[in-house]
Amino acid sequence: MTSVVTLENIHKSFGETAVLSGISMDVSHGEVVALIGASGSGKSTLLRCINLLEQIDDGQIWLSGDDISDPRVNPDSIRARIGVVFQQFNLFPHLSVQKNITLSLTHVVGMSQTDATHRAHELLERVGLAEKATWYPDRLSGGQQQRVALARAIACQPEVLLLDEITSALDPELVGEVLELVRSLKDDGTTIIMATHEMAFARDVADRVFFLDKGVIAESGPAHEVFEKPRDDRTKVFLQRFLGPGL
């Protein structure tokens, strides 16, 4: 298996507060990795570091063999190889759904307007929103917005997709459609690193789970092992709070 993302001993602090204290992991092609842990455990910061939105204090990050933590690399060209969806406010409100998707295709990849529009329609078909191409984001439901955001994130065929709690701001009845889409992206072979509070989904869809606690990986392993036979006490306490003692 070829590694898509490799993290080695990542450290990051904001002022005096250490947020990440030595995170290492290796994500293979086509693998889905779930980051779980309490709020403030460093999940989002880790994703932002991978996307070079935050500068790490120590350690190294590789993307398909390239050391992207090297200050000599151009961060914009690295970010073009990574797809990201945040919790909310992903879509540009002044652009139609279709324009949201074609923006990076025409302005970063350099695709012609016609080709980009064609590709946007393919993607919208893929996420089941083909008939909404000319709509503006404010007329879409939260779930539909996140599906468009996912379509936009995979438009440039990124090497890895980073999902930062993409269902946390949704009404419960809208969560399903978004998670279904993520599941089908996995089936297509997309490499995904996702921070999530959806434990059931992480257990079903993730190949591996990393439990973060106070900036370190307290426990990691295949999803069913971490969820069914947690070894670390911190993981046990966390999972009990989330899933109830009946697990």
Binding site: N9, H11, S13, F14, E16, A18, S21, R48, L52, L53, E54, Q55, D57, D58, G59, Q60, S69, D70, P71, R72, P75
Partner: protein
């Protein structure tokens, strides 16, 4: 915390830091040199223009500047005093206008319309015309006790700037999320208390950079009271210019106004940067 401090950076990280330091040193050097080159080029161009010698004598004469200093600085003191009272007056009147314009309900229609009409009128009317009307027209009525010219100048400034600042306040009040108002009313706070204790504190915080910007604009418009004949810095410079047949006093007054504005400009920059850094939480882009 101790774990964080005890950790020693890896050699890779040290190399990266050295590279970044080197890069930023290079950027600083390049921008410094390019600024210097540009300034020198501009200087040489100006110095070599055919009329430079004449312009230098009539605009940058140090002896004239020294001679004009006492009178201009005394005039500036008047500007500062006018600014002080005008700023207080503007804050009070603008807050009142903004509050009136945001009142709900049909009963308050006349009040809202009056406030709206006021801001329409004074945002449209050039300050200099307001100065003439207030400075010469109102005393001409003969119904009010005699007041110094700078008093009427201050009133005119308050009238005009309140209209602008009221709109800034109103934008701030309307930008506070409706849920905040509902939450306050749910606690049993009345309309006035909701406005005073919940809405206005948030609104003012949001519009502070815009308010500071308006203050800076007013700081220099204070110089316009000279058209009424009040001996402020601009008027004093005009008198000195007429006596010395030299424009240097105007340059002096201009520089003094810039010096007066600088602290506020820096403060505004600092405050906006602080607001921005809070919102972005230290991200790189």
């Amino acid at each position: 915390m101790s774990r964080h401090e005890a950790r020693r950076p890896s050699s890779i990280e040290l190399e990266r830091r050295a590279f970044r330091k080197n890069q930023s040193a290079k950027s600083v050097a390049i921008s410094f040199v390019s600024t210097l080159v540009f300034a020198l080029a501009l200087w040489f161009f100006v110095v070599n223009t055919p009329g430079w010698a004449l312009v230098q004598r009539s605009f940058f004469d140090l002896d004239v500047m020294a001679g004009a200093w006492p009178r201009v600085i005394e005039g500036l003191w008047l500007n500062v005093r006018v600014l002080f009272f005008a700023a207080i007056g503007v804050l009070i009147l603008a807050l009142l206008l903004a509050t009136l314009r945001t009142l709900r309900g049909a009963v308050f229609f006349p009040v809202r319309a009056l406030a709206a009409g006021y801001t329409d009128l004074f945002r449209g009317m050039p300050l200099i015309i307001v100065l003439y009307i207030v400075g010469f027209g109102v005393p001409g009525l003969g119904a009010l006790p005699r007041m110094p010219l700078e008093f009427w100048g201050t009133i005119a400034l308050i009238l005009t700037y309140s209209a602008y600042v009221a709109e800034v306040f109103r934008a701030g009040i309307e930008s506070v999320h409706p849920s905040q108002r509902l939450a306050a009313r749910s606690l049993g706070l009345g309309y006035g208390k909701t406005l005073r204790l919940v809405v206005l504190p948030q609104a003012i915080r949001k519009v502070t950079p815009a308010l500071m910007n308006d203050f800076i604009a007013m700081q220099k418009d204070v110089g316009l009271i000279s058209v009424l004949g009040a001996v402020d810095a601009v008027r004093a410079a005009q008198i000195e210019t007429a006596q010395a047949f030299n424009f240097t006093p105007y340059v002096l007054a201009g520089l003094l106004f810039v010096l007066l504005a600088l602290p506020m400009i820096r403060l505004t920059d600092w405050y906006s940067a602080r607001l921005r850094s809070r919102e972005q939480a230290g991200s790189l882009v």
